[in-house]
Subunit: 195 residues, 2 copies
Amino acid sequence: MTASPERRRELLDTAAEVFAAQGYNATTVRRIADEAGMLAGSLYYHFDSKESMLDEILSTFLTELWDGYDAVLAADLGPRETIEALVTESFREIDRHRAAVAIYQKEARHLTDQPRFHYLADSQVRFEKAWLGTLERGVRSGAFRADLDVRLTYRFVRDTVWVAASWYRPGGQHSPEEIARQYLSMVLDGIAVRT
Amino acid sequence: MTASPERRRELLDTAAEVFAAQGYNATTVRRIADEAGMLAGSLYYHFDSKESMLDEILSTFLTELWDGYDAVLAADLGPRETIEALVTESFREIDRHRAAVAIYQKEARHLTDQPRFHYLADSQVRFEKAWLGTLERGVRSGAFRADLDVRLTYRFVRDTVWVAASWYRPGGQHSPEEIARQYLSMVLDGIAVRT
DNA sequence: TAACCTACCAAACACTTGTTAGGGAAGAAT
DNA sequence: ATTCTTCCCTAACAAGTGTTTGGTAGGTTA
């Protein structure tokens, strides 16, 4: 009745991989077990439901994410430097938790209805507070343009960062830091040549 | 055995709405029928499978999308003007086919395996050719920065545009054209104040 | 009036789904 | 040597899935 934490982590990793590739609902518990080299029922020695696997995948990811974000926010940097740090940290998280991020993006919206996953909505609120607040601070300080809809800018920056999880593959030719640098350069300065 | 085209379109619209909200696999055929005010079996008078509904939703969307894109590309504008026109056209498509776009984004990746949906992969290739080609043309002509990874830029621009479908709601306070203008301003010139 | 067509319902089908219960093999602990 | 613990298997269950078949109310046509 007691399962080893390492085995749990292993199984969660393969589960996350399949969830990310096929979608949560499209993934059968038999497929996960197959990928892990065991039978469907055996998974229930380690977890008490398919949903709790998803829960554990998402919650551990969000926990680690907020560890990083809180560290950045606690540093009390200027608006532009905060955005830079948040973006860089985000790409590092994508590098570490690619599957979890992909799952989060695909499933978060319709999971927030369920009470069990209400922490997803909480996280989203904190998320908006951090990013939107920093952007507004930047507009006031003159670091960011004032002629743009800040809310639109927020969604723009947020989405551009996290969608990268859909194509990013760890071990590719660009490191997370390199991608972050290029993304920041595009978001901050634009892709057009200055005239 | 013969169904009216208007009724088909009506049912496809409600189906698309549910698919977009819950995900294709998580959506039961009974839920769609319920939303349409009829019983599950009755859907099979109009369509021969759940999959063919998805197929028809996606293919009609892509057809209309490429009608718009081809018109833009045929105009033979400069690189920057082409990007501007493509982005604007994209937001108009999101306005018209919000549900279809959302479905496309969530399900396209793992649908391309099935032969039936192979046209999704074809479309993606054409898509990349149009956008990436325009960006490269812009770099050569000096309109776009040469110090950025063009491929990364492509994914950046592509994603930033289409992810908007996940939060965009028709009839909101911003028209598609207004959103396109702000997005283009951000992508082209950046959100930072020029020093 | 009779035949027909459209658009749906009622009821079931075969199958897949997540999940459970009991058991057993292999090693560790006593 | 025996008990215990860990980890998995076998085999099944109940619920839900997409789909089919036969029927029928109501309007249209002949």
